[in-house]
Amino acid sequence: MNSFFKYFTDIFRAVKSLLTGMKVTGRYFFSPWEIVTQQYPENRNKLKMYDRFKGEVIMPHNEQNFHRCTGCGICETNCPNGSIEIIQDRIDMPDGKKKRIISKHIYHLSMCTFCGLCIKSCPSNALAWGQKFEHAVYDRSKLSKILNQPGSSIIKDIVE
């Protein structure tokens, strides 16, 4: 009789200890609104990154295709990994002087560590953070980007 009684108390104790262990998981099972999973590739259209999100370094251009980069090279010297390369050019001004402009502002995304020193040190606020974060490509040469758009030139009100 005693062993018979023990058999049932053992079952009861086992169920009780199982329920204690599963208390938290059970609660989440019955409250599915607490699930926080995002369906990432499906919600891509609705996905909004924060304003300060560091996706990549970009050079903002206005509607008339003007940028603010003077080609001074401070971002290039401040970059710890050599991910910025500036190819300068000189043009003749109407008053006979020569002026320095950028021919190419090359940004190697593959080497960038997103420290933000180029953007912080830029004296004319020519660089900014972009929001794009899907950088996967099939060829690594595609990760070297020319930031100044073709045909763009420096905006007039920048004084060096």
Partner: protein, 375 residues
């Protein structure tokens, strides 16, 4: 006629043999190779082989200017990236005798504590997973996501922030920062009870960790085991208390010490530390003074010639930064005294005589981050 050859039969139970745990093993949390000498399944001795993720950060620092060094320190102990940044910033400010604004000190302290909570949450996930409970992993990561959202909104990145600069901060905090932190504290005060229900009170976990991997106070001091692991043995080593930096001297918090020094005590230390960190944040978050977010610094930072040392309390223990400067804009020599390296040195001592499955639990409780060991 057949000849009978009597091969000597070896008893595998009595003979010592070696196995490699790692470099690719989920419980080493990175590329750490442990050569374990076993008898049966009892660990006789153990030899860690480091260097699989050595990147030469100390040498790379010698070519970088001081603002550029910050982004390399992120990549040592990536789970307490802000705190590593803080060490270098404090060192440069100490050497140049720059007084940073009060606002910067408050913000830095709050963010350090948030980073500590995030780091301990990830440790909690992975410790649960090492013990065989995958549920913990998802709950811990879910709550860590809330902190990462605050970080992402304020400084744009989730893991490697590079937010501190010598003399101040990269940019001011986001207007939503204070509200976000307060919401998180309210949320996490509720959720940390789940942590206790699911893992601390779990009888299987307690049976597996109590009395396993005991480290006495004397051994903790002689091996230099610091941080929560050292405090579990009763070794009072909290830099925040003994050498306050930031505004830790204005906050009221306890340095929690354990007595047993076993795996379960090391577990409890980190659970208590999360609560203490929340207490510190709650005291400071409403009192952030107005002002500048950076002190006036020269464009090119040159430290005067000499030797400098600065320590901070990272999530795993005391992080020391030692710099020899010859007056140039780059350091002559840079050395990081990382907490994980000294914590790893005690692993051989405390895991002798345990079963190999318990080695996973001990390793989880020491909470090592391999990139910080190898640098």
């Amino acid at each position: 006629m057949k000849e009978v050859i009597n091969l000597p039969v070896k008893n595998i139970e009595e003979e010592e043999y070696h196995i490699n745990m790692g470099p690719q093993h989920p419980s080493t949390h990175g590329v750490l190779r442990l050569v374990v000498s076993l008898q049966g399944e009892i660990v006789k001795s153990l030899k860690p082989h480091c260097g699989y993720i050595h990147r030469g950060i100390e040498k790379m620092c010698e070519k970088d200017t001081y603002p550029q060094i910050i982004h390399l320190t992120d990549r040592m102990d990536y789970l307490s990236a802000h705190i590593n940044n803080h060490a270098v910033c404090l060192l440069v400010e100490k050497a140049l005798e720059v007084e940073v604004p009060e606002r910067v000190k408050y913000i830095r302290t709050i963010i350090d504590e948030l980073n500590r909570i995030a780091s301990h949450q990830l440790w909690w996930c992975s410790f649960g997973m090492d013990m065989g409970g995958l549920t913990c992993f998802f709950y811990g990561l879910r709550d860590r996501e809330k902190i990462l959202d605050i970080f992402e909104e304020s400084f744009g990145s989730r893991l490697l922030h590079s937010y501190y600069t010598p003399g101040g901060l990269m940019m001011d905090i986001h207007p939503n920062f204070q509200k976000g932190v307060k919401d998180f504290i309210k949320y996490f005060r509720k959720k940390i009870k789940d942590y206790d229900d699911i893992l601390t009170g779990n009888i299987i976990m307690q049976e597996r960790t109590k009395g396993i991997g005991v480290l006495t106070k004397e051994d903790a001091i002689s091996y230099g085991v610091i941080g929560p692991s050292g405090r579990a043995s009763g070794f009072s080593c909290d830099v925040r208390k003994h050498h306050p930096y930031g505004v830790y001297d204005k906050a009221d918090f306890r340095e929690i010490l354990g007595n047993d020094g076993d795996t379960f005590t090391r577990y409890l230390m980190r659970m208590h530390e999360m609560r203490e960190s929340m207490k510190i944040i709650e005291q400071l978050i409403d009192n952030i003074p107005a002002g500048d977010y950076t002190a006036k610094m020269k464009a090119v930072i040159k430290l005067p010639a000499g030797e400098y040392y600065q320590r901070v309390e990272a999530a795993r223990g005391e992080l020391g930064v030692y710099v020899v400067s010859d007056g140039n804009k780059t350091p002559y020599r840079m050395k990081f005294r990382s907490p994980n390296f000294s914590n790893l040195s005690a692993l051989d001592h405390i895991s002798r005589g345990v079963k190999i499955a318990d080695l996973v639990a001990i390793g989880g409780s020491l909470d090592y981050v391999i990139p910080d060991i190898d640098r």
